[in-house]
Amino acid sequence: MSLTEAETVFAGVHEAGVNELFKAFFTARPRFLTYATPGLVPPATPFTSVPAIAFPGIPGGIEYRIRFEIPTVDFAPDSSGGSSPLPVGTGQLNIRTKVTITVGCYRFFDDTGKDRQGTVIPISTSLEVWARGKPTVTYFSPGNGEVGFSLDEVEIVDITPDSLESVVECILRMVLQAVIRNVRLPFNTLTAGAFSLALVRGPEIEDDQVKIYGNA
């Protein structure tokens, strides 16, 4: 069977290629991996500034920082060797990353009872995050469009009780979706600049690739 099938042009990017694109994107624009409030700015690291969570009685609000490692993608069929808690089915993809959440814990008194004069003490945890989703497309005009990714579910292993896991998964799904939304792959990249592609079909996930079909 031909690559172009019923159309005249085809472009396919293997998951290894998409991972290189992710690496290129987040290396060039690292601020999309780290989000920090003014009280928890990371030293010598580009970041995106976010406001503290306002709460009555907490001076300056709740400070926090969220940092992701560069995500990696796995297109169907599943290449995780069974390690994915959200195995991908037909047309689906996994995104995997590690997130470090830091909260500025505001303490007035320490464990010995000493007055801390209101000090923010950062405390952190790191979590392995698995997400499952599908590709999206934004099509502007013949030859002009972008492939992106949307996440339907997130799984974090080993948080109890389950209700806490659900809350954290929800928060991380929202945050990770917002991060991934910045990663756009123009059609021109999917074709490596070989030709213009007027989209007819796709994007489709198959054979460890994201595929688009169209006419030149």
Partner: protein, 265 residues
Amino acid sequence: MPDIIAAADETAASNLIHAAETTLGTLTKSGSGSLGPFTAAWFASASFSGGMVDLIAPNVVRIANCQLNYSLGFNFSFDLSSILPDFCLPQICIPIPFDGKLCTPKICVNWPTITIPVSNSGVINFTADFSLNVHLSGSDWLIDIVVVGIPFLQIGPAAAAILAAIGLAASLALLAVPFIGPFLAAAVVGITAAIGIAGVTGLLGPILTPFVSGLTFTVYKQPKLFQVLPPALPDPAVNINLDAITAVVASSNEDELVISVDISA
């Protein structure tokens, strides 16, 4: 498995190749050559267009009836005394008022050497196989299709048209020669006969053949450092490296031009 695979069927490949023909633009050459018994200084330009594309595995692109659009200008010098007879105005005697009569001497006409400028444009169709050639040129990746051998050019019809153009140009040039009037038609015939179709073919072949010998169309050109996303303040551009590229013609239920690319961040 390559990181990126881009494939085009014969319809899309045709578009690519026709665009490459346009990108090649107009080529020009000049020189001098034999036009029958004469030497002609010439200037020629050529461009390419059209043709039906046939992809042939593993690496051949055949273009059938590709059009070579040529424009040719040349001039040559012709000594009219070689084809026109010696001609003299006879002595003329007439009576004049203040003398009996006055007689002019016989005046023999000088047939000059004239320069005849000729221009002609036309189209010659040819069919040729091209092979795929992927290579780095400086910091750019190129995929070229390079003609195999020297395509045969059907020059005959063009030669006939050019011989007709020579006749027309000769007529125009001869009009300025004094006393040519009664001899003009015969002079044009004499000039075109001296050159003949063979003379024009002998000039045209060496002019046009170099345009197709080594003919190369570039169907892909991208920098090794490929921009994925442009800068968007405050963020810089996002680039990837095109580390390796291959291009083949793959044959399954249809023939396709397949470009495979390995990339790195």
